[in-house]
Symmetry: D2
Subunit: 337 residues, 4 copies
């Protein structure tokens, strides 16, 4: 952090400021140039309230120089993190595919989809048990029963499972879940992040609807600061003024994140657009951008089929996507895992 002091400052004010900074446990590197006086703060500046400093009378400006995240920062951990989940790996030169239905509806449904997804190249099975819904009147998921059905599908197929947690009070129920998902709306539910951090279990952290890359990494930092370094980031679209798509998938974030952090980054092209027919082009785009994997919604449900529903990718379309990805992977130095 750099503090630029006003030219007409009083010496006593400057002394007070330096004393206060040192009182926060930081060192101060004073640089007096011909036209400016600059304080370089040395040490862990995350304890400093930047807005407070900016508001001081003698301060012309304050600029944060370093990144506020540490454990997630590639600078201090140059090697890619590879998260091991039930014998499978996410990160590095591995390309991982998570697939399954938005909601778990029945034992028959989840097992049928799991088998198809596995046959066509899916490495992990996803399925929603607890569903975050904008409306209290909408279906909230099968909740605890949904978890049981998902575990049954895991048993049947041997696939590691991924599902979303919505409250710290449910953590015991998630004991056999292989990869715990934190949804976009809970990305800054800090109490939940801490609790999930304490479990040590692999966590899939979705980006919040309007959260910056820096805030996202700070949420990863919450989990990691509890000792749990098994964090995988998942880009799923951000909120913009554009209304033709549900969200705007931010694929520039992928190569950027690969510079900023050592954590794996995957993409969810299904939720971003809200349109099944965009899933294939956005999947290939994600591979091109350098993602470590994809999370794809796959459905095969007779109720939806009644009216020729086209919202979800069907297993056979999923296969086509995986086949195209396999052709692309050598170009980005990855192999499917």
């Amino acid at each position: 952090m750099i503090i630029i002091v006003k030219q007409n400052h009083e010496q006593k004010q400057l002394d007070n400021l330096i004393k206060w900074i040192k009182g926060q446990g930081l060192g101060v590197d004073l640089s007096v140039g011909e036209n400016s006086t600059i304080l370089g703060l040395v040490g862990d500046t995350t304890v400093i309230d930047i807005d407070l400093v900016r508001s001081l009378d003698i301060v012309e400006n304050v600029k944060r120089i370093g990144e506020p995240y540490k454990l997630a920062n590639r600078k201090f951990h140059p090697e890619d993190t590879i998260v091991e989940i039930a014998g499978r790996k996410i990160g590095g030169d591995n390309f991982s595919i998570i697939a399954g239905p938005c909601s778990i509806e029945s034992e028959k449904q989840i097992i049928a989809i799991a088998e198809e997804v596995k046959a066509y190249g899916g490495g992990f099975l996803r399925g929603g048990a607890y569903k975050p819904r904008t409306s209290p009147y909408a279906f909230q998921g099968l909740r605890e029963n949904g978890l049981k059905l998902l575990l049954k599908a895991k048993e049947e197929t041997g696939m590691p499972i991924v599902t979303e947690i919505m409250s710290a009070s449910h953590i015991d129920l998630f004991r056999d879940v292989d990869l715990i998902q934190i949804g976009a709306r809970n990305m800054q539910n800090f109490e939940l992040l801490k609790e999930v951090g304490k479990t040590g279990k692999p966590v899939l952290l979705k980006r919040g609807l309007a959260n910056t890359i820096e805030e996202w990494l700070m949420s990863a930092e919450y989990i990691m600061s509890e000792g749990n370094h098994n964090v995988i980031l998942c880009e799923r679209g951000i909120r913009t003024f554009e209304s033709y798509t549900r969200n705007t998938l931010d694929l520039s974030a992928i190569p950027l994140l690969k510079e900023l952090t050592h954590l794996p980054v995957i993409v969810d092209p299904s939720h971003a657009s809200g349109l099944a027919r965009l899933v294939k082009p956005l999947s290939l785009a994600s591979v091109g951008a350098g993602a470590h994997g994809l999370m794809i919604e796959v459905h095969n449900d007779p109720i939806h089929a009644l009216c020729d529903g086209k919202q979800s990718i069907k297993p056979i379309e999923f296969k086509e996507i995986v086949d195209s990805i396999d052709v692309m992977l050598p170009l980005v130095d990855k192999k499917r895992n």
Copy 2:
């Protein structure tokens, strides 16, 4: 909800669609015009997945007509809701002022501010015990101890108190808090909303950083659907591309909300801008826009004072704001309470 059916639809597909809608417990009002066929859905359409319907082969377009919120909707409850809190009222023609420090720091600090705030016209005392911080390394508040100090200030001054809850597991600790605040980052923490709804206690629901007015009212609906109608909305700025202010205060939301809902709406001008010197003009603007009250950060802290901190409004500036508000209130048919 209105479904526009494609002109070249097959009769069987249309029959299937109508059958499916009726299977969801809804009525269908079929309107066959010369050039279009339109289905008007009758009943509680919040159970319908609009994206699913839009994706059907025979559907040209779907448009939601009614608002998805009911208990919060002014259509079904034309009278203003007035929330009673420890003998005070928020809503209707009452104008309420909540004031206090961002964080509770010590018994001396909170009681001193409480007394000044009360003397100058504040009706409610706010103070942060549990603090949602972007960084895990930043001060997280005095937490349980902070709550105790706040309760002591309540005892000393008789002021009703407002403070933020961050986890459903803390609800028991909030038993003597008069108005429980849900922060912006937890606006869609649905499990927390349900739990707070069950307490029956007055809730101050802040708008999420990137949430629409409709989503905000749906979160109020979550609390209300548990039987708790004591909900007060608080606009605190939304996230935009503008970076000179921390957030963009959306004052158009105030008159709009007064049409859409019967719930009281207040404004937090302190967090919106992040700049103490904007608090007065934005407070007067909020009164002009028709808000039912304000939540203002007031500070009086010797540590901050060391370097002439100007981030927070001091008690004497708070007094000036209240005095100006008092002049304006007759113009908007309100009285300070």
Copy 3:
């Protein structure tokens, strides 16, 4: 501008960088601290491409310290600018009201509205002759004929007139227009800004739909750098994810602009919301926020009246707004002009 040099830089690279900066006509203030080397650039740093500098191998970070606008900057011109227009003043402690129809439709219409607006307290008459429309098939305004009708209304009522220009090729036609409006979509039409700057005539510069306050001031700077300092800023709402209102009126910008610039700032509450019934509360909010004036759409059109149109404020509602403003003005130390 501050350049933070990487700790492990080679001396030769640093020498090259300093040489290059000096080659751009700037001075360099070298500050070598214990842990960091910082270059403070002295002089007009607007010629420096900040992205280029940031991309250099030896650069850790670059931070702009000063504002890039100069003529518009209050630092170099502490007194409020008061723009004189046909004997009337905008800026300082004057509060100005511009009113009139969105589009000029006929001589009868524009004169009738002008007379009512004048009677009820409007100081300036607005009316659209050239209309920027999203669709090429929509009514594009009466164009040159509209200008003639507006000039006739000016003659009849003596009111100074305000209307939008859409192309530099129309400048000769605007010779008798008192205040030339640059619309939101042309805020960064730099060739038009330069041409309007050359005329020396008062300019009303609307904020672009997604432009920052800094970009807005830089567009004012384009006009001013041609020698024309008669610039008035007009906030009219920015584009956000919220869809209940057409735009989000950014009233925090008002007090902020009053610090950053000496130019007058007014608000257009009609276009921001797109809802006539929000115009009154947003007008009062604008006064509270400290605006120097308002631009209000007033209509009185039998065609619209046919179906009880409520999009526009009618003259009698305009009167009510002006009456309420008059009560508020002493509170913000302004008088209506």
Copy 4:
């Protein structure tokens, strides 16, 4: 367009509304259901002011059903448009690469880059002569002289050229430019769109910084409605709250546009991110998303080289990108042209 009439409407009001709609040259399809009365408007509803209708007393809601763009709409022109430019084709199954420097600086520079770009697979040469700059003090391009140098490079290399126009008054100077670019800031400079439309020359229309896909297509419609159907769209990033990248590249727009319109769509990955090292991954992502081409900034400038500038892609890096693209193209059924 669908108008939902309030249930408690008076017959006379409904008659008036229908009469008014018919007076606008439209047909009305009246659908009276059990619980609702709906008017379907038949004909060119772009003449209707949707906000006006929504504001009427008897109107419950209005919904636009059809797209407001016609000439650009794939519904009415199912075949891909292929724009022919100096013997080369853009659109359909062709993949086109436009490359060159941001600004033209000298004859030597532009010819040297042109030759390298051509050797490595670039099909079109770009170079900025007129530069839209936020600051009036920044370099505004070589303007007319820049155009002359670009034409010389065209002569030397035989490459078709692409450059930006900033004012209708420059059109004569652009007579020998093969593809005229409309920049993001001028996307809604409607007078310029009309004038460029009249030339009949191929136009590269960049998306505005905060413009929706619909507005973008309406701007294409402005050009096409003058009889010029040679329009190519160029996605270049939109403005969001994220600040780590200069803009957020909206790649979801690519597959969506291919459904909505028959016009070719290319991507500019250089301006979107503002970071040279993101150009390769975003180029591959664009190919995966289905773009018809790319516009890449390539630079080879000794001044920038002085300090090891890394903002721009160098010719050798450009070659690597083209080589990777060539491997991907069969996957998306395209061939480089």
